[in-house]
């Protein structure tokens, strides 16, 4: 009887201890969880603003350093550009005549006329088309069409001459056509051909300089 009583007591004791251990584990897990939650709250309310301010200041310092380095480079480049400009200052009017800062229609016409006159070609008609090309954003241009009649070889020489002139232009197309012979007497001037030249002249507006 006493054995049974003591074994019952022992079983109750084991059960109590195991329950107590389980309880302890739960309590410990809860404690750790709560501690982590407190750390997270501390990080959110205290560390986050601090880190945000520190990183903001560090970013500002680095950006200022970057600006100083880049501005220094740009100042050096500007000084170098000034030196280079001083070197070519004497030739600047020549460059200006090459790509003028205004349309300079007179210059373009004279250039064609002079090169024609040298080769005995008198231009009969010159017309301008001021339609701008939307693809060319950094430079302005206009089209010039010249037509006349004369000797074929003289035209070729004229083309060769104007190709070597100072103000460059783009020869978009040129054409030769035979004039309609109205009588047999006109065969005497059979070497004369109609000549058409389409050219594109460039100029650089001052307010159109690449930014």
């Amino acid at each position: 009887m006493s054995d049974l009583f003591s074994s019952l007591k022992a079983a109750k004791l084991v059960e109590f201890i195991s329950k107590e251990q389980e309880n302890k584990k739960t309590r410990r897990l809860s404690e750790i969880g709560f501690t982590i939650l407190v750390i997270a709250a501390f990080a959110f309310f205290a560390l986050k603003p601090t880190f945000a301010t520190i990183s903001d200041l560090m970013g500002k310092i680095n950006s200022k350093q970057l600006l100083v380095v880049e501005m220094d480079k740009k100042i050096r480049a500007t000084v170098q550009a000034q030196d280079n400009f001083a070197k070519i200052q004497n030739d600047y009017p020549l460059i200006q005549s090459c790509i003028p800062d205004r349309p300079a229609f007179y210059q373009a016409t004279t250039q064609l006329q002079k090169s024609g006159e040298i080769n005995s070609v008198i231009l009969e008609k010159i017309s301008f088309n001021l339609a701008t090309d939307p693809d060319e954003k950094n430079i302005d241009s206009y089209h010039m069409t010249a037509t006349t009649q004369g000797d074929f070889m003289n035209f070729l020489n004229t083309l060769n001459k104007i190709n070597k002139s100072r103000r460059p232009f783009k020869m978009e197309n040129f054409g030769f056509t035979l004039p309609k012979l109205q009588s047999s007497a006109a065969t005497a001037s059979a070497s004369a051909v109609n000549f058409t030249l389409n050219a594109k002249f460039y100029y650089l507006e001052k307010d159109n300089v690449k930014k």
Partner: protein
């Protein structure tokens, strides 16, 4: 007993997840704050570089060409 043990486990996992989320949010905010002024500085028009070298060959070519307007 088993129920309270489960609740404590969930609580523990939730707290760990909260800590991870807070750490990631701190990292994100800090990185944004760090990179924003640098990117703004990089996009600044004032520091856009230009090439100061002049193409002397072209200038020589211009000088060598005949001016037909005179």
């Amino acid at each position: 007993m088993l129920k309270s043990n489960n609740i404590s486990k969930y609580f523990f996992i939730l707290s760990i997840l909260s800590l991870i989320v807070v750490c990631l949010s701190i990292y994100n905010v800090s990185l944004n704050n760090y990179l924003k002024p640098i990117n703004e500085a990089k996009g600044n028009e004032l520091i856009k570089q230009f090439d100061p070298k002049l193409d002397m060959e072209t200038i020589k070519e211009i000088v060598s060409r005949e001016d037909l307007t005179k």
